[in-house]
């Protein structure tokens, strides 16, 4: 039965790594602007759809990937510039509605620019399953996990070792203070959207061989990504990764040992319980309100 357990774990890791990648995008934007971007899933969709359709049209993969990343980044920048920035001082809920509006817009545009069909990409390193003690894992899952790991290391480096990254962090802690010490806050916000759109695209590209993609693929990824980011503690990259993996593994274990019909519900119950005891998520800042 250990093989079965291991298989559930692999299943959970595969889904979890996908959720984690989606969650990271939420974390980055939240870090820089305290905005939850409900269009994050659409960045992932754009990355996947753009790459898949380009490859289908004969563009080589190594060219399609950077093009799709650039396309997604442009969309992210445009969204910040035209939809989020003009509403900077609005209520949190107002900005949430704006990002939801943006996600609806992007889905609508995607079904016109592309189509409503599902698209796939060939797996990067073949389709031969890797056998481990009676369980199997697809090489593409390793790609997803690997990319998530690279991204988290890259982000850590960016936020802790580069001037611009530190500026972004500073902006999230105190916008005014950041402005006073000469951080171009507007640029930072723009960059945060560009970065998370880029990240979304990368996620979309590596997961498409596993999950396929269509114009609505961003809904589920956005939802799970949000769950992952909140469970991990908003604004914390490591938290988003851990949150994503927990959600994925919880779903797989629930399918395996409890009930596959209720696996999503079980995952949400776990999230609720964690929040009851840790109201800022697993790794969120636990500050006392200053009055």
């Amino acid at each position: 039965m250990f093989a079965a357990f291991l298989q559930y774990l692999f299943s959970g890791l595969t889904s979890g790594a996908i959720y984690a990648l989606a969650g990271l995008g939420f974390a980055i934007i939240y870090n820089a602007s305290h905005v939850i971007n409900f269009a994050q899933g659409e960045f992932i969709m754009i990355g996947g759809m753009a790459t898949a359709t380009m490859v289908a049209a004969g563009v080589p993969l190594y060219l399609a990937i950077p093009l799709a990343m650039v396309a997604s980044m442009l969309v992210g920048v445009a969204m910040e510039k035209f939809a989020v920035e003009p509403a900077r001082n609005a209520d949190v809920v107002t900005i949430i509605i704006i990002t939801i509006g943006a996600s609806i817009f992007m889905r609508g545009a995607a079904q016109i620019i592309w189509d409503k069909e599902f698209h796939s990409l060939p797996a990067f390193s073949g389709e031969t399953p890797i056998a481990v003690m009676g369980a199997t894992l697809m090489p593409q899952s390793l790609w997803v996990i690997g990319v998530a790991a690279v991204v988290i290391v890259g982000l850590w480096y960016f936020f802790n070792r580069t001037m611009f990254g530190k500026a972004m962090l500073g902006t999230s802690h105190n916008r005014l203070a950041a402005q006073l010490v000469g951080v171009a806050v507007k640029k930072v916000l723009l960059a945060s959207f560009a970065l998370s759109a880029l990240l979304g695209a990368v996620g979309g590209i590596v997961v498409t061989p596993i999950t396929f993609t269509n114009y609505e693929a961003g809904i589920m990824l956005g939802l799970k990504g949000f769950s992952a980011a909140v469970l991990g503690g908003l604004g914390n990259g490591t938290g988003a990764i851990v949150g994503g993996l927990i959600v994925g593994i919880a779903e797989a274990m629930a399918s395996g040992y409890l009930s596959s019909a209720y696996k999503d519900a079980i995952a949400f119950i776990i999230i609720l319980f964690v929040l009851f005891f840790m109201p800022s998520g697993l790794f969120g800042k636990r500050g006392t309100d200053r009055v």
């Binding site: 939850i36 609508g108 769950s227 019909a261």
Partner: protein, 315 residues
């Protein structure tokens, strides 16, 4: 500004709009859309107490709406319970459920609260989808007319007038609450929780109270919706339904009873109007949502009021 006149004036204006609108209705489809708009408006008036006045977000209220609908459906169809009893029982169960989850959930703030309510809504949706033996599963369930005291609400016209009266009643209740000490305490919770606490407002109890009230509003409307439509699917309780309700409230204007009504009416009519543009529907809807929130961040009605006021002042 005299509150009394604003209050009676607003209610009268609402009554007039409800009464006069059917002049433009050429058939029962219009009444149907009108009823749906008012159903949504009632839910939003309740939800606005929570979101607009008490400042607590919920992305799960479609779940309570669906529970009301299915409660009525199951009780009337499978157990032959009279419709009004089914509606009341469902609302009571939803109220108790909301009460049970409210305390731990409402300790959370902002996006964490959004996540938790989202989770509650999704769990309800999954249960309704999965327990097909009772709910009929994703293919939905049918139910009969709303009968009460030998009287049957039937047909879109009759539903229109019943719903119209209920909407006015709901707005009246909501205005009453907001203008009472209880409502003031709720608004204070939005303004500053600790500020309210130190002068004696038990903020967590008030948050629980308003959460339960808004859930009961949703449940009652869900029951009525189920009878009126005659057919329900679990998707009325989906995450999208909840987002839809919140969008109505925010678009129309948070902390404005009439704003919530306006938002609900507009977002109910919009898909009907946009059906003619076919595949561009989603893009246009997205642009309208973004545009409204960018240019009127306080929502349609409050923003218009501010403009009107400043114009008057300028004169």
């Amino acid at each position: 500004m005299n509150l009394m006149t604003a209050r009676t004036g607003g209610l009268a204006a609402l009554a007039i709009v409800v009464a006069v609108a059917p002049v433009g209705f050429s058939n029962s489809y219009f009444y149907d859309v009108g009823v749906n708009a008012m159903f949504n408006a009632i839910v939003c008036v309740g939800l606005n107490l929570l979101i607009g006045y008490a400042g607590q977000i919920s992305l799960g209220h479609a779940g309570f709406f669906a529970l009301g609908a299915y409660g009525s459906g199951i009780l009337t169809e499978r157990y032959g319970v009279p419709a009004i009893v089914a509606l009341t029982l469902s609302a009571a169960v939803v109220g108790i459920l909301a009460f049970a989850v409210a305390r731990p959930i409402l300790k959370l703030k902002g996006h964490y609260l959004a996540m938790a309510t989202l989770g509650i809504g999704i769990i309800i949706h999954i249960v309704l989808k999965t327990e097909a033996g009772i709910t009929g599963g994703p293919d939905g369930m049918s139910l009969g007319n709303f009968k009460m005291l030998g009287f049957t609400i039937k047909g879109d016209q009759m539903w229109y007038w019943v719903t119209g009266v209920l909407l006015i009643f709901a707005v009246w209740l909501s205005l009453n609450l907001i203008e009472s000490p209880v409502g003031r305490a709720l608004r204070a919770v939005h303004g500053s929780e600790v500020g309210a606490e130190v002068v004696g407002v038990d903020t967590s109890s008030y948050k629980v109270l308003v959460f339960v009230v808004s859930a009961v509003f949703a449940s009652v409307v869900g029951s009525l919706f189920a009878h009126k439509n005659g057919f329900i699917t679990p998707d009325i309780g989906s995450f999208f339904g909840s987002v839809h309700f919140v969008t109505m409230v925010v678009l129309g204007g948070m902390a404005s009873v009439y704003g919530a009504v306006v938002g609900a009416v507009i977002l109910t009519l919009l898909p009907q109007l946009l059906a003619v543009v076919e595949q561009y529907e989603a893009m246009i809807l997205g642009v309208i949502m973004m545009g409204t929130m960018i240019f009127m961040p306080k929502g349609l009605l409050p923003s218009l009021m501010i403009k009107l006021k400043s114009r008057e002042a300028g004169r």
